[in-house]
């Protein structure tokens, strides 16, 4: 039987709740018939309405409530259908969640997990599609996690839930559709960790979230058609960063491309590149990111707005000073839907 990303999230939350009765799960839409895109369906049936409940649109106070409960031993999972809605809770996240442990000399932990989903395509527009992870990675005291491949998802989420610190867990909506035949077998690991998902000798590509899918696709074509051998590091945890795995890879390949899902200015990747600039490179390292513009709503304007495997291939070739370019006709490519059967509206 196939599982998809959304089922795996559901199973992981369910597992965490049966492992520890202090885990609670709530937020807008958690108990409604769609259950946050299927990720929270049936949890209330299994664990009761004291531990799983719906909520009013009061993002800031819901976050403060999570923090307060966690100070006394509850392990809250707070769910937001869009990252953009969670912006209303920046005060609680930045001034309280990220500070309490430090502020009181390490005496209190804030073990909360805040799930935020970022939209893409189908007219999500400027305020339903923002990839603002850099806002959170900028704040010391928050762990920022962005899953990409479904096989690692359960371990990543379970580790986030039981981490003793506030974790911002950001999911790209399109990833929810990815599928696997693999068994559901999560473990708990210390956060942060990063994953080398393919070995290569010509260039290191550091990527995360949905773009990891596109990078994987690109790396196959780069190998076959351009004889470029790519080493991929799927960051998975954006903050804090453990540099060793990155440095080891770059020392080997001597080349680097960072692939981001957000605006280039102030992006997570530009910051990481600044940290890695102390290394020696054969060619100048580059970043592939989004332009400094909000995402427009009209699908005519988003036609070439997003990066995909093609832009990854060409940026890689450019970084390595290879003159050839990969060209495919994208005119008939449907760019604003994750899967064929998607019919909108959200």
């Amino acid at each position: 039987m196939k599982n998809n990303f959304a089922n795996f999230i559901n199973k992981t939350i369910s597992l965490s709740m049966s492992m520890n009765k202090n885990v609670i799960c709530f937020g807008l839409g958690v108990t409604d018939p769609k259950g946050v895109f299927g990720t929270t369906l049936n949890l209330q049936k299994k664990f009761g309405s004291a531990r799983v409940f719906d909520a009013p649109a009061s993002e800031n106070s819901l976050t403060g409530m999570s923090i307060g409960a966690s100070m006394l031993g509850t392990i809250p999972i707070l769910n937001h259908q869009r990252l953009d809605f969670a912006l209303l809770s920046l005060d609680q996240i930045i001034n309280n969640a990220a500070k309490w442990h430090y502020l009181y000399g390490g005496q209190i932990n804030i073990p909360i997990t805040i799930r935020m989903i970022t939209g893409r395509g189908w007219g999500q527009g400027p305020t339903h599609s923002q990839n603002l992870q850099a806002l959170f990675t900028h704040i010391p005291g928050l762990k920022v996690v962005m899953p990409s491949l479904i096989d690692d998802l359960p371990t990543l989420l379970l580790s986030s839930i039981f981490d003793k610190n506030p974790v911002i867990f950001i999911e790209n909506r399109w990833l929810h559709f990815s599928e696997t035949k693999k068994k559901f077998k999560p473990s708990i690991r210390n956060l942060p960790y990063h994953r080398k998902i393919s070995s290569g000798k010509n260039i290191t590509i550091i990527c995360y979230s949905y773009m990891t899918i596109e990078v994987l696709k690109a790396s196959k074509i780069l190998k076959k058609e351009f004889r470029v051998d790519v080493e991929i590091i799927d960051l998975v945890c954006l903050s804090p960063i453990k540099e060793k795995i990155l440095i080891d890879s770059i020392k080997k390949t001597k080349n680097l491309l960072l692939v981001d899902t957000s605006y280039i200015t102030g992006s997570f990747s530009s910051n990481l590149l600044a940290k890695l600039s102390k290394l020696d490179f054969e060619h100048k390292p580059q970043i592939l990111a989004m332009p400094d513009f909000p995402e427009p709503t009209s699908s005519f304007m988003t036609k070439y707005f997003y990066n995909n495997y093609i832009s990854v291939i060409n940026k890689t070739l450019d970084t390595l000073k290879i003159k050839k370019r990969y060209k495919v006709n994208q005119n008939n490519h449907i760019h604003d839907k994750p899967v064929d059967y998607y019919m909108g509206p959200f």
């Binding site: 807008l28 719906d54 909520a55 009013p56 953009d84 809605f85 339903h128 427009p296 009209s298 604003d336």
Partner: protein, 304 residues
């Protein structure tokens, strides 16, 4: 009729954005439109089609916006959740719940500073009352004596979540806010005359007294929260309520009343319908045939 056409045509996949329809909630804004003036400023939410049209917003440009075309009222940047018609005083909408409420008091402040005779109108759903911005804004409006009409459409659901999971049972915001010192009106939405008078009085209160006022109207959304279809198969709404509200369809009742009062009115109604159908067909044709924006247009309009 406009939204029924959107609903019918959504599956053609030419409207590639989320749509929040107001079918079932049209009558209150229509009544308000009998009193508002072009210079009154209005702001609204994700569910804004009825508000936009009742403030005189251009229909062709609205449909073109949903089609993502250059000729849309926001030139394709905003989509269904972001309508605007500045000439008609419809100043935009926010897709973040509660986020437009503070803007409405800002418009009220501007109107007050200019000393003009008009008012600011702020549409929102009962869900927005759960955001801090709501209580902060009503407080400010009272303290600063701003001419703002807070127009709450209570359809009892926030997406699929019913009000009793989110707000205290039988809580009365009319009581709460009048205790704070704001004039309030409430209509249960079941009787046309009652609704008409409450809306009229609320509008006139703000207009004449130059003070804020809270108006709450009960209503029912006939289709799904977001998207073109009916979603009652999901079972999150009470079947009884659905039937009840169907029976008190005020638009249909009004039509019956008009028919009863004068025989020749049936011709008039037929004519209005035909006229509307013509306008709607024209708008969809306009939207479909309008020029697409260029992909590079995404990189315009960030700064003045």
């Amino acid at each position: 009729m406009v939204e029924e056409t959107i609903s019918k045509k959504y599956s053609e996949q030419k409207m590639r954005c989320p749509v929040h329809l107001s079918i079932g909630q049209e009558i209150a804004p229509s009544i308000l439109s009998l009193f508002t003036e072009k210079k009154d400023k209005c702001i609204s939410t994700h569910r804004c089609h009825a508000h936009y049209l009742s403030k005189g917003g251009n229909l062709d440009k609205m449909i073109a916006e949903i089609y993502g075309k250059k000729t849309g009222c926001s030139k394709g940047y905003g989509g269904s959740m972001h309508l605007i018609d500045i000439k008609k005083g419809f100043m935009g909408t926010s897709a973040i719940v509660g986020s437009s409420i503070p803007l409405s008091i800002g418009m009220g402040l501007n109107i007050k500073l200019k000393g003009s005779k008009n008012i600011s109108i702020c549409y929102f759903g009962e869900g927005a009352r759960e955001e801090g911005a709501f209580i902060e804004s009503v407080n400010l409006a009272i303290v600063k004596e701003l001419p703002v009409l807070f127009f709450c459409e209570n359809n009892y659901y926030s997406v699929y979540t019913s009000i009793d999971q989110r707000q205290p049972k039988n809580a009365s915001y009319n009581k709460i806010l009048s205790n704070l010192g704001m004039k309030t009106f409430y209509s249960r939405g079941k009787n046309f005359d009652d609704m008409y008078i409450k809306i009229k009085n609320a509008y006139n209160f703000v207009k004449k007294k130059r003070l804020p006022c809270y108006l709450e109207i009960d209503c029912y959304r006939n289709v799904e929260h977001c998207g073109p279809y009916n979603d009652d198969h999901l079972g999150y709404r009470n079947k009884e309520d659905f039937k009840k509200w169907k029976n008190i369809d005020l638009i249909r009742n009004l039509e019956k009343f008009i028919l009863k009062s004068k025989n020749s009115n049936s011709k008039l109604i037929k004519k209005i319908r035909e006229n509307n159908k013509y306008k709607i067909d024209k708008a969809f044709y306009f939207a479909d045939k309008s020029a697409k924006p260029n992909p590079s247009d995404a990189f315009l309009n960030l700064f003045k």
